[in-house]
């Protein structure tokens, strides 16, 4: 079965071809069936291969399947080949599984969209490239997938191209990703130039001969990481992701939360052998990851658009994953990648279900009290929120805790501190979103309010499956108990470990768990305090200003001070970061480079005056220069 691994990406490709060429002529149901069905086939095949792989003795792992030699250049060749090892299998499972669920969801969600076949065409193409990316056995094929998913992401962000903001967002994602891709390409060139091969296993084997901290490897890993910051939306290239929410919600769930944006993390983990040799690069990765985690989390607090909240949370969680990789806990990074794929896909799909219920509204200020109207969505959303907040026994708890644990054990108190603060903020703003959407008074537009409805089964069933995964997904990596961490056991052969091998006392681990649970609980309580109790506050405040000396209201006066001193500065600070740094500095740099080229272009074309003799003069000048250079 393993030798058929190449079929995994071929199924979506076939779906792409059928829907792309005949989609307009086929009935909608068939288009949807094909679109989702091919992914289902891929998933089934992946599961079959996974089961077979488990039976393989350790000696015959990993398996490399070379379909044929793609590019040969001198001694060096790039095969179309797949590397079947624990890491790629986990990625394949996550990608094909989550994609399958989201495809089913999309059949319901996009049902009334006129571009239905086009949507599935792009989506299938995306899955094709994503599977190529994670299945590849060499850098070049990975790059093919890397470019391909970027292209599909661009196409899908701008899917509703009639909206100016959507096509602008697509353009922004495209330009930002180009910068990252350039870094990736340069890194790849550097590796090729150094090792003369691009095959993962060969490169990693050859890299072993270099000393730790060697300049070439540090440079290559840093360049690759530039690529990762673009694709995985890290500082400073994160700005495209919040804007990418202009795309349809299933796209946000699939591409901009569960799969594509994690490609950077996957790549860093895949190159763990290289990163292990470059401590400096690891420090950069960890620092960028930590900064992104907290920076994005603070910005998540100031958002009112539910998808933007989730987008900043995605950026923040990706930061966690890089933080994990940076401190050498690659397994934890991939673990978090997996659980994050479950619960974040669920959150986005839930958000889609909510907006489906309230006629496309995304502003949380115009929601509220929806819990009884859309019970399935509410419950699944709550489960995902508990998971992301890191509450036992939900999936996010295990993975997030493992990251923080590793950061601490490694002696990186700084990273640990930032991670913990970010965890607090995450719990806070995620529950803020829950309270604003599902609890309290209904602020829904009265015209919409009377037909708020639960989504059809086609949409809720994937929600329930993902919710199930978000609950149990973490148990594959159960800590403390010896042999409980099946995930780590399985994944370790793909990963080059970094850092301390010593095992800290169990008490520390349990204590840390309790601590981070407490942090999350405080975050939840803060949200509860501010958003469940505060709806009454405006009335009390009005009283207070009329009778300012009344001691009864002193309590609330203190609250007010607290609000002004603590909450408001944080909020306005994050708004400031968001509007100033994000929009002006980073966007400015991106747009600046694009407009510089456009300006050059518009002026250089004026050289073509249309006058023959000017052209002849150019030739003569050219002759002068060429002759002058060669003789001079």
């Amino acid at each position: 079965m393993i030798q058929y691994v190449w079929l995994i990406p071929v199924f979506p490709l076939m779906g792409f071809l059928i829907n792309g060429l005949y989609g307009k002529r086929l009935p909608k149901n068939l288009v949807g069936t094909i679109g989702a069905g091919v992914i289902g086939l891929s998933f089934a095949l992946t599961v079959a291969i996974f089961l077979e792989f488990l039976k393989l003795p350790a000696a015959s792992r990993p398996v490399e399947i070379v379909v044929y030699n793609w590019i040969a250049a001198g001694k060096f060749s790039v095969p179309i080949g797949f590397l079947v090892d624990p890491l790629s299998l986990i990625m394949l499972l996550v990608v094909s599984g989550v994609s399958f669920l989201i495809h089913i969801y999309s059949v319901g969600y996009m049902h009334d969209d006129p571009g239905f076949p086009r949507f599935f065409t792009y989506l299938n193409l995306f899955v094709f490239f994503m599977l190529i990316l994670v299945g590849a056995n060499n850098f070049l094929m990975m790059f093919v997938g890397w470019e391909g998913v970027g292209l599909c992401s661009y196409l899908l962000i701008g899917y509703w191209y009639e909206k100016q903001s959507a096509s602008d967002a697509g353009k922004k994602a495209f330009v930002v990703n180009r910068i990252g891709d350039f870094g990736f390409l340069l890194g790849m060139f550097l590796l090729f130039w150094t090792f003369g091969t691009l095959n993962f296993r060969e490169v990693f084997a050859l890299a072993g001969r270099y000393p730790v901290g060697s300049g070439i490897i540090t440079a290559a890993t840093l360049l690759l990481f530039v690529g990762a910051t673009g694709k995985s939306a890290q500082i400073p290239l994160y700005t495209w992701l919040p804007d990418a929410m202009e795309g349809p919600t299933p796209v946000s769930a699939l591409i901009h939360a569960a799969t594509m944006v994690t490609a950077g993390v996957y790549m860093v983990a895949r190159c763990s052998a290289l990163y292990a040799l470059a401590p400096f690069s690891l420090t950069v990765v960890a620092t960028i990851g930590a900064l992104t985690a907290i920076f994005a989390a603070t910005m998540g607090m100031a958002q009112f658009d539910i998808k933007r909240v989730l987008a900043y949370s995605t950026v923040s969680q990706l930061g966690y994953m890089f933080l994990a990789c940076g401190v050498g806990a690659f397994v934890a990074g991939i673990f978090h990648l997996m659980t994050h794929a479950f619960f974040k896909a669920l959150l986005f799909l839930g958000a889609g279900s909510v907006s489906h219920a309230v006629s496309g509204e995304l502003d949380m200020r115009r929601m509220g009290g929806l819990k009884d109207h859309i019970p399935i969505t509410y419950r699944t959303f709550l489960i995902a929120t508990l998971a992301i907040a890191g509450i036992f026994p939900f999936a996010g708890f295990f993975s997030k805790d493992e990251i923080l644990f590793h950061a601490l054990v490694d002696g990186n108190y700084f990273y640990w501190g930032i991670g913990t603060v970010a965890a607090f903020i995450t719990a806070f703003y995620m529950f803020r979103a829950v309270y604003m959407v599902f609890f309290g008074e209904s602020r829904v537009d009265p015209h919409v309010a009377h037909h708020v409805h639960e989504s059809p089964p086609l949409m809720t069933v994937p929600l329930m499956i993902l919710a199930f995964l978000s609950i149990v997904g973490g148990f594959v990596g159960f800590p403390i108990i010896e042999g409980g961490h099946k995930f780590k056991e399985f994944l370790s052969p793909s990963i080059t470990p970094v850092g301390h091998g010593g095992h800290p006392p169990v008490s520390l681990e349990i204590g840390l768990m309790a601590f981070s649970m407490a942090v999350a609980a405080i975050g939840i309580y803060t949200a509860y305090k501010l958003y469940m109790l505060r709806p009454d506050l405006p009335g009390w405040l009005a009283e207070k200003f009329r009778v300012p000396y009344d001691l009864i209201y002193n309590k609330y006066y203190v609250d007010q001070i607290y609000d002004t001193i603590v909450v408001e500065p944080i909020k306005s600070g994050s708004t400031l970061l968001w509007t100033q740094v994000d929009d002006k500095v980073v966007d400015g740099a991106v747009n600046g480079s694009a407009s510089t080229v456009a300006w050059l272009s518009a002026h250089l074309r004026r050289l073509e005056t249309g006058f023959l003799q000017n052209y002849a003069l150019a030739i003569v000048l050219g002759v002068t220069l060429v002759v002058g250079y060669l003789l001079g």
Binding site: A72, A73, R178, F189, F192, V597, S601, Y615, G622, Y629
Partner: protein, 486 residues
């Protein structure tokens, strides 16, 4: 006085003779018989096919013929095949387009065949005279073809600009050859030049360098390298679209064939002198082509700038001057032939009514009205942009690998940066087709069988050659063995 007549074999120039005789036949039949003839395209295609068969039949030979004036080797043969492919695809594109302009005449096909003969001469020449003759046979035919729409002011202007500047540049090339003749002490055989030039180096080195400079100018003009590129946008825009396609691929291929042959065979000893020069030219060419293409709104003009940029990429391979570089020149030219002719095929289909729809915004919403056509154009745009898994990507990959292998890291980096810039304007066409509503109803497009077949074939080939580059790589590797210096 006795003369020994050198022995020769007509077989070794069989493909030339076939094409030339075919062209002469077309001219005679066209001139001497009455009535409208519709069989010329088929006849030309048959002639081209025959020439291709002859070429394949010759494959493997390695010698010279006609008193060492002509190389009979695989490098030439591979170029023959690429040139024949270019000519055949152009002819497939031409018929309905010419009919629209009322210009479906026998001369058109005869001239394409003559031009192809000239190009083959350039690819096989072993002596400067042959290069010059081939260049001029090709150029004169193409000058006429560029001005083929005699009643159209744009076509006139394009042809005249091309002719005057082309002749101007030829004069420089010729002057270079004259100096080379002097520097080498009275010989212009490519294989002798290398030795003679190095033997006489100290005394005549300035003369040699001057000659190299002037040859760079002459070839640079034909391949549209900056700053000798100024004619390209104007001529490509004004010439009949099918001829623009032909010029972009075949003329460029032939010029690179001669360029590579002369520089790899005759001037390897002067690589230190010319590599920096071509380095600068390559970077300038890529950059200017890509940057200015962004501001273009006429699709033909945009593709003209794109063709300048592509010339820059191939120059990178020339600078690398290693085996992989030579292979990548061949591979890239094949890929470029496929993707560029395909793109022009779409342009012809969309343009209609005597080229009324050449603005890039005429492509808005094309995907909704003609999904197949838009998909084809998207393939060509991705290929031109160098996106995997198309032939364009593999070609760029070979070129930049060759540069890296030869130690020109920065050149490769600049090339990669350039191809990133180029994605912007290629993708814009795709975006217009897929993500914009149509500006106005495009109306029906007449899908004539030949043009449709050409577009489909090139699209499929662009992808297939990209996915399976190995067989052509082997052929090319086999054919560049003739360069001892690489």
């Amino acid at each position: 006085m006795t003369l020994t007549i050198p022995t020769f074999s007509l077989i070794s120039i069989g493909p030339w003779l076939t094409l030339a005789l075919g062209a002469i036949l077309i001219l005679l039949v066209d001139a001497l018989s009455k009535g409208r003839k519709t069989y010329f395209p088929y006849f030309s295609l048959a002639v081209l096919a025959l020439a291709a068969f002859q070429t394949i039949d010759l494959w493997g030979a390695q010698s010279t013929d006609f008193a060492r004036m002509v190389y009979v080797d695989n490098f030439a043969f591979l170029f023959y095949l690429i040139l024949i492919l270019g000519a055949a695809l152009t002819i497939l594109l031409s018929r309905p387009y010419l009919e629209e302009w009322g210009k479906d005449m026998g001369e058109y096909y005869a001239l394409i065949l003559f031009a192809t003969v000239g190009m083959m001469m350039m690819a096989a020449s072993a002596h400067m005279i042959m290069i010059f003759l081939g260049l001029e046979v090709m150029s004169i035919a193409v000058y006429v073809l560029a001005g083929f729409f005699r009643e159209d002011a744009r076509s006139n202007e394009a042809a005249l600009k091309y002719l005057v500047l082309g002749a101007f540049a030829s004069a420089f090339l010729l002057f270079g050859m004259a100096f080379l003749y002097g520097a080498a002490g009275g010989s212009l055989y490519l294989d002798e030049l290398a030795k003679r030039l190095t033997d006489a180096a100290t005394l005549t080195k300035p003369l040699t360098l001057l000659a190299i400079a002037l040859l760079v100018v002459g070839f640079g003009f034909k391949v549209a390298a900056v700053p000798f590129h100024m004619w390209t946008p104007d001529v490509y825009e004004g010439a009949p679209t099918s001829i623009t396609a032909y010029m972009a691929v075949a003329v460029k291929a032939a010029a690179f064939a001669a360029f590579a042959r002369v520089f790899f065979l005759a001037f390897p000893a002067f690589h230190v002198n010319w590599h920096m020069l071509l380095w600068v030219l390559a970077v300038a060419t890529m950059t200017l082509g890509n940057v200015v293409a962004i501001a273009q709104t006429n699709i033909k003009r945009m593709l003209a700038y794109s063709s300048i940029a592509h010339a820059g990429y191939i120059l990178v391979a020339l600078v690398a001057a290693n085996q992989l570089g030579a292979v990548s020149i061949l591979y890239y030219l094949l890929a470029y032939t496929l993707m560029n002719i395909g793109a022009f095929g779409v342009v012809i289909l969309v343009a209609r009514k005597k080229d009324s729809y050449l603005n890039i915004y005429d492509y808005s919403g094309l995907a909704y009205q003609h999904p197949g056509l838009a998909a084809g154009m998207a393939v060509f745009m991705f290929a031109l942009a160098g996106m995997p898994p198309t032939a364009g990507f593999v070609g760029k990959f070979y070129i930049f690998s060759a540069a890296v292998q030869a130690g020109y890291i920065w050149l490769a980096i600049l090339g990669v940066m350039n191809s990133l810039v180029s994605v912007y304007y290629y993708l814009r066409i795709t975006v217009l087709m897929y993500m914009r509503p149509a500006e106005a109803d495009l109306g029906p497009i007449a899908f004539t069988p030949a043009v449709t077949a050409c577009v489909i074939a090139t699209a499929v080939a662009t992808v297939l050659v990209g996915i399976f580059p190995g067989w052509f790589y082997d052929l090319a590797m086999n054919s560049v063995k003739i360069f001892p210096s690489l």
